[in-house]
């Protein structure tokens, strides 16, 4: 019997992958196993158990953070070969998205990145993923084994079998090029969980100065919304911390109300807001892409409309 080999540097993400792997296992005629690198705590083992792992391969000498993705890929590919893996399933974390393609190349096979859904067909594994900025979905078929896949997290719920997985020690000599980790600078964080926000007021390049964001902050305060932004505001301009960035490479949000102020709406941004219930956009340009992706497209100058809107809402809401 072949194996679906699961890896993530985050054991909780690995647990989610194990749930997905176990669903596919019968149709691929495979068993499932997780790979753990570096020291393993009781907590780690519990996480694997929660994903329903029966077997954990443990390689002690490799540390993802310290040695870098090439070494992780080497370990993952070596174990995959040793156990004749039919599939290597990696959680699509930032490290995972570096490790998975490198592993695929080492195994001379295909890779499907950041998939949202997987299914086994008689021809092979079928994977679904977002393309063309995330507004389209591609259906992919693997023509060669092993299938290397990274899967978005947050889609599977580990339930916890409770029973302790069997741990098998594997020793691997790492020869892949290593990185030297100099330091980790913790990001400035707003400490918000935009994915859970019900109301979001979001700002874009229509704001000319950092101080002008106070208009949006005031509005957000009045209606009890969180503040979000498009990529340039957090990235190039650094006016807001990265965890407020909404879009393809940032957060994907699903609020009841998404109020986009001065955001043009590049597809990379739109993919982050597609699950919003109501989208309202305020923009001077009636042809901006966001205007055709909104429930209400308000053609107007944010510098005039937003302060007036805040005043009106204060009256209506009695604040």
């Amino acid at each position: 019997m072949s194996t679906i080999l699961v890896y993530s540097e985050n054991p909780h993400a690995a647990a989610e992958m194990l749930v997905a792997a176990r669903q596919l296992a019968p149709s691929l005629n495979a068993s499932t196993a997780a790979l753990h690198l570096g020291s393993m705590s009781e907590q780690d083992l519990k996480a694997y158990a929660a994903g329903g792992a029966e077997l954990v391969y443990h390689v002690d000498g490799v540390d993802a953070e310290k040695h870098g993705p090439a070494c992780v890929a080497e370990a993952l590919a070596n174990v995959a070969r040793n156990v004749d893996a039919v599939m290597v399933l990696v959680a699509a974390t930032r490290l995972g998205r570096e490790v998975a393609p490198r592993t695929a190349q080492r195994l001379k096979t295909g890779y499907a990145a950041e998939c949202v859904q997987l299914e086994a067909s008689s021809d092979g594994l079928v994977a679904y993923r977002g393309v063309l900025g995330g507004t389209y979905q591609a259906k992919l078929l693997f023509k060669r084994k092993p299938y290397v896949v990274s899967l978005q997290t947050g889609r599977y719920q580990p339930e916890g079998s409770g029973s302790q997985p069997r741990v098998e020690k594997v020793s691997i000599e790492i020869t892949a090029p290593q990185l030297e980790l100099v330091e980790i600078a913790r990001a400035e964080s707003a400490g918000v969980d935009l994915e859970k926000a019900e109301l979001i007021v979001s700002v874009g390049r229509g704001f000319k100065k950092r101080e002008d964001l106070s208009m949006a902050e005031e509005l957000a305060k009045v209606i009890g919304a969180e503040l979000g932004c498009s990529r340039p505001i957090a990235g190039d301009l650094k006016w807001l911390p990265e965890d407020r960035h909404i879009g393809l490479s940032g957060k994907r949000v699903k609020p009841k109300l998404y109020l986009a102020l001065g955001i043009s709406g590049q597809v990379q941004h739109l993919v982050g807001i597609r699950d919003s219930k109501v989208v309202i956009a305020v923009n001077t340009d009636s042809n901006a892409p966001i205007m055709s992706e909104a429930d209400y497209a308000v053609v107007g100058d944010i510098y005039k409309v937003v302060p007036l809107l805040t005043e009106n809402l204060k009256k209506l809401l009695g604040r």
Binding site: E98, P101, G110, Q137, G224, M291, A297, L316
Partner: protein, 260 residues
């Protein structure tokens, strides 16, 4: 002196792709093409390194229908020369085939110290070409690069991870995959555009690369691409700011989007 390879992908401009009204398939033929966004950041970073340390910048580009005009654009920005493989067979290329072809083309270029590429492509967003190339050459790769400094012994890179910036060092040669945050790509001046017309573009045939049938056979096939439909009401509000603010406030309250 550092010699730098920059990988440039030509993609469809995803902002201008419209779905077919019935099949929902993307109408790719009707949208203009461009150099993938992050790849321009990679080129810009390569040019900055060259300006500081000397060396040459070579653009490499593979695909099924490469447009010369877009290659000239890269040369106008400041790349010294370009190597191109354009072959209809690459229309079905997956990440594996693309990496094998790029690597074989890079071997043709000769000496190099660094490969720079965009961290992901505009159309596929798979984050795979950089790591795959590094694996083929058995050298380190660093994705999500937001700042790069060359040192005597190698390269120091600031890498954006979930919890913050990881500062890492790698020996050369290495592959760096950069994101939008790293810089703002320059716009070429008229003078640079004129100068670019004299720069060499080396057209290499796919058959000259010595790749095996297996290396040219995709491992993943795209069966279907369809637009994900989101139905929006698309109601346009126009008028004086006072009216707009009044109307919008009423909508927010009436639809229960904000609560008293």
């Amino acid at each position: 002196m550092v010699d730098i390879i920059v990988c440039l992908k030509q993609t469809v401009d995803v902002n201008q792709v419209r779905p077919h009204p019935e099949t929902l398939e993307p109408q790719l033929g009707q949208a203009p093409r461009k150099i993938s966004d992050f790849d321009l950041n990679a080129l810009e970073e390569a040019l900055r390194i060259k300006e500081k340390h000397g060396g040459r910048v070579v653009a490499v580009c593979v695909g099924h229908d490469i447009q010369q005009l877009l290659i000239r654009e890269a040369l106008a920005m400041g790349a010294d020369e370009a190597y191109v493989v354009s072959d209809p067979r690459l229309e079905k290329a997956d990440g594996l085939v693309t990496a094998e072809v790029l690597a074989a083309l890079i071997r043709k270029v000769g000496r190099w110290d660094l490969i720079l590429c965009g961290e992901a492509s505009l159309d596929e967003s798979a984050y795979q070409t950089g790591p795959r190339l590094a694996e083929i050459f058995n050298i380190p790769h660093i994705t999500y690069a937001v700042r790069v400094e060359l040192e005597d012994s190698g390269v120091k890179v600031w890498k954006a991870m979930e919890g913050g910036i990881h500062v890492v060092k790698a020996s050369l040669p290495a592959v760096l995959a950069v994101g939008l945050e790293i810089n703002t790509p320059r716009l070429p001046s008229l003078l640079m555009i004129r100068a670019a017309s004299k720069k060499p573009i080396h057209e290499v045939k796919l058959s000259e690369l010595g790749l095996s049938e297996e290396q040219l056979t995709p491992a993943v096939e795209t069966l279907q691409v369809k637009a994900l439909k989101v139905e929006r009401r698309r109601i346009t509000l126009e008028g004086e700011p006072e009216e707009l603010a009044q109307k919008l406030a009423e909508i927010l309250v009436q639809e229960g989007l904000v609560k008293k």
